[in-house]
Symmetry: C3
Subunit: 138 residues, 3 copies
């Protein structure tokens, strides 16, 4: 499978975008052992794996990112033409990365009990986000 799957979310890490899971469920079932590669087509959002249970973990992660990457008039950025939240978003995207590779076992993503896929939107006003998913294996 190699399709484009749009997803949107407000500024915040969000776990387990339902669109992603729904899009690949049937394709996953064809693999006994393999890898699922998720690739975000953007430089101001990111994909990461983290806690899928308590939504405070997502809020706290946003708190951390906003503290560590300065924003607004006092920030030292030269790249400001697209808004004060743009350069911080680029930095956060490289910090967390825009791709994930997850093992497939017996037709399902083989993740830990508490692991969920987070789509992290780092812009204030999100546009639709495209994820390319590539499945491989036997």
């Amino acid at each position: 499978d190699d399709g484009r799957h749009p997803a949107t979310a407000p500024r915040l890490p969000h776990h387990h975008p339902q669109e992603i899971m729904h899009a690949i469920r049937s394709d996953l079932s064809e693999f006994k052992c393999g890898l699922a590669h998720l690739f975000l087509h953007h430089t101001s959002a990111s994909l990461t794996l983290n806690e899928n249970y308590d939504p405070d973990v997502q809020t706290d992660t946003e708190t951390f990112l906003s503290r560590i990457v300065p924003e607004g008039p006092s920030a030292p950025w030269r790249h400001t033409i697209e808004g004060s939240d743009d350069m911080p978003a680029h930095i956060k995207s490289s910090m967390f990365g825009c791709a994930l590779t997850i093992p497939i076992t017996d037709g399902r993503l083989n993740m830990g009990t508490w692991q969920g896929i987070w789509l992290c939107e780092h812009r204030d006003y999100a546009t639709p986000r495209t994820i390319v998913i590539t499945l491989s294996g036997i």
Copy 2:
């Protein structure tokens, strides 16, 4: 290969967990060219590649992470029910990531001279950690 390999370590990045290397050595030998994917089943630890020689690099990395992610009563986290080291561990896990993909050449991991696999334990009291290893190639 797609097995679960337990590993434990105190809070600190540790290079080259011997359990990992031992578990995959014979399987690796079957591949002339390929990829080894290591996937940690947890959200409060991480996998990264870094210097495998001077253990001070691991200590300094821990110093950096502890400075950059605040911990304790004055930290701004809402997710504190599992202890003051838990939310910082989640953040560090997303910063470094929980997976590695390493090329295989002629039956061995094709890494640089100074590169070692680090299992980074971000909790104070580690529980056993599970790594799923998937090898592919020819």
Copy 3:
């Protein structure tokens, strides 16, 4: 393909190293659907994907990294034997990572419009850098 491709760059993130693109263009054309894995053989440089248009984004990213990872006599590092820029480089390497996996579609890297491959040199005086590229797919 699994070859070593040398590349050099001064301290700064640089997008789209031409050597990389040139090295794999003809090999890529053999794949209708697959994955390209780029793996840097070093612990004081990194690979990331980010904005490929405005070079200020690279400058601002360097500004961020230099602010967040202290350097020089007042920095807390024990690992200083290779120079004051060495331990910060190790940390930045783990923050951004030393590997990328990018989907291949119809013989080309399937990236977003604004995504470019950045080779981030974190040492002041760069030595040649080796990247191992592994292509897989159908």
